[in-house]
């Protein structure tokens, strides 16, 4: 069993976004979720630097560097989109107006603590940006990340070892092996990669996993079946 590719993980998240929802895709891996939204999708993407209804990357040579996303890459605007200043943009974020924020993470704890801004272990200056505002403000906070670190250590932990972005905010975790819901009782498994086992997943997960209902199955292409 091979973990989901980055593309398949992005597709899996895209397929779960609420139709007609207002969604912010964090910088890094979450940005690629946009590539897997069907063209008929009613999802409206928000960019923290003051854009609503973000469209795809413009064709080469047609970039407008006054129209960029939070990752500072050129974007386009869909019909019905709008521009606004950062104060209104962060009012949207902090004020609970976004349905979902999809964020990358270094670690997520059993109770939904999020650590996604610094591993604290290099000499680089730290940067926080708008991830923390999203993590506090969006109605649902989804994390997408590899299930473990490159050297196999769990990222889903009892307590985050890294400096926190926000406490008790993550509602759902999409990894390259599973989909988990953060519930009052703990981490509830929703879906598992085809070929993987609950015991195997638990081995890669520091926090205990609950299986409250019937598990769905994740296919290699990122689709999920009952």
């Amino acid at each position: 069993m091979k973990p989901l590719s980055r593309d398949a993980l992005a597709r899996m998240v895209a397929l779960h976004l609420p139709d007609e929802g207002f969604v912010n895709l964090g910088i890094g891996a979450p940005t690629h979720v946009a590539d897997y939204l069907p063209s008929s999708s009613g999802v409206m993407l928000h960019s923290e630097n003051g854009v609503l209804n973000v469209g795809p990357k413009p064709p080469e040579g047609e970039e407008d560097w006054d129209l960029i996303n939070a990752g500072k890459m050129p974007i386009s605007l869909k019909r019905g989109g709008s521009y606004f200043d950062s104060s209104l943009s962060f009012a949207m974020m902090r004020g609970g107006h976004l349905d979902v924020a999809v964020l990358g993470a270094f670690q997520v704890s059993r109770n939904g603590d999020l650590a996604n801004w610094t591993t604290g272990d290099n000499g680089s200056p730290p940067g926080i940006g708008g991830a923390i505002d999203l993590a506090v403000g969006a109605k649902s906070i989804w994390v997408m990340m590899d299930h473990t670190t490159k050297d196999g250590r769990p990222r889903i932990v009892e307590r985050c070892g890294y400096s926190l972005t926000a406490r008790k905010v993550v509602t759902r975790i999409f990894t390259n092996l599973a989909i988990l819901d953060v519930t009052e009782n703990g981490l509830a498994m929703d879906a598992l990669l085809e070929g993987a086992t609950v015991a195997g997943l638990q081995n890669l997960t520091e926090a205990p996993l609950l299986t409250p209902g019937k598990l769905r199955t994740i296919k290699q292409d990122g689709t999920v079946v009952p």
Partner: protein, 219 residues
């Protein structure tokens, strides 16, 4: 695709309940969603808490709500020339929370922007500081003002598209643009509904993320 256009004012006020808190846009008649005034009356709800700049001064505004006795409390800045309200106020059948106008709009903004409140210099050393927490910051005394939110926001726009993007007309923008951010359900009465893409993205004042219902008033 998202479409928030509803048939009429009656549909715009659907699910309003007794005891709800309701923001109503407008400064005088500008920005006041007049179709909503009668629709809320027709809905038969009572015990409303109203947040608005004024308390009605003519025969087609909040005066009708006070006349019908459906308001339990109003949070406003300038309830002058408001005959129906004044009668209820003198009779003690309606509660008034008087708020400086800038504080009113800032409290609404805080409610919409997810803030827990703000430190205001307005009202320090006056009765408007009574009962409020005082906080010193940077060597000066401030009043802690708390956010306002509502179950429903009713405002008046000029143009809307079916996604719910809104523009306003001249000084009718007033409190409406801020109130649009602070209601659980935001319904906007507009002069005209245009096709998606017709509004210039630079000139949309209230992006559709804030708007749940849009309607044009039947005449």
């Amino acid at each position: 695709m998202r479409n928030v256009v509803v048939r009429d004012a009656e549909a715009a006020v659907k699910d309003i309940k007794d005891g709800h808190t309701v923001m109503v846009g407008g400064f005088g008649g500008a920005g006041l969603p007049k179709g909503v005034i009668t629709a809320v009356l027709d809905a038969g709800v009572r015990e409303l808490v109203v947040i608005s700049n004024n308390a009605g001064s003519s025969d087609d505004d909040l005066s009708l709500w006070f006349g019908a006795g459906i308001v339990r409390k109003i949070i406003c800045s300038y309830p002058r020339n408001a005959q129906q309200f004044a009668e209820q106020y003198r009779a003690g059948t309606v509660e008034l929370e008087l708020v400086p106008q800038g504080t009113l709009v800032e409290r609404i903004r805080a409610g919409g922007a997810g803030l827990g409140g703000f430190l205001s210099p307005v009202g320090v050393g006056t009765v408007f500081a009574d009962g409020k927490e005082k906080i010193a910051a940077q060597g000066r005394e401030f009043i802690l003002e708390l956010p306002l939110r509502a179950d429903f926001t009713f405002i008046k726009g000029n143009l809307a598209d079916s996604l719910g993007n809104i523009t306003y007309n001249k000084s009718a923008r007033n409190h409406c643009a801020v109130m649009a951010t602070a209601g659980d359900t935001v319904a906007v009465e507009v002069d005209r509904i245009v096709d998606v893409g017709e509004l210039d993205p630079e000139n949309i004042v209230t992006p559709c993320i804030f708007v749940d219902r849009v309607f044009t008033r039947s005449r």
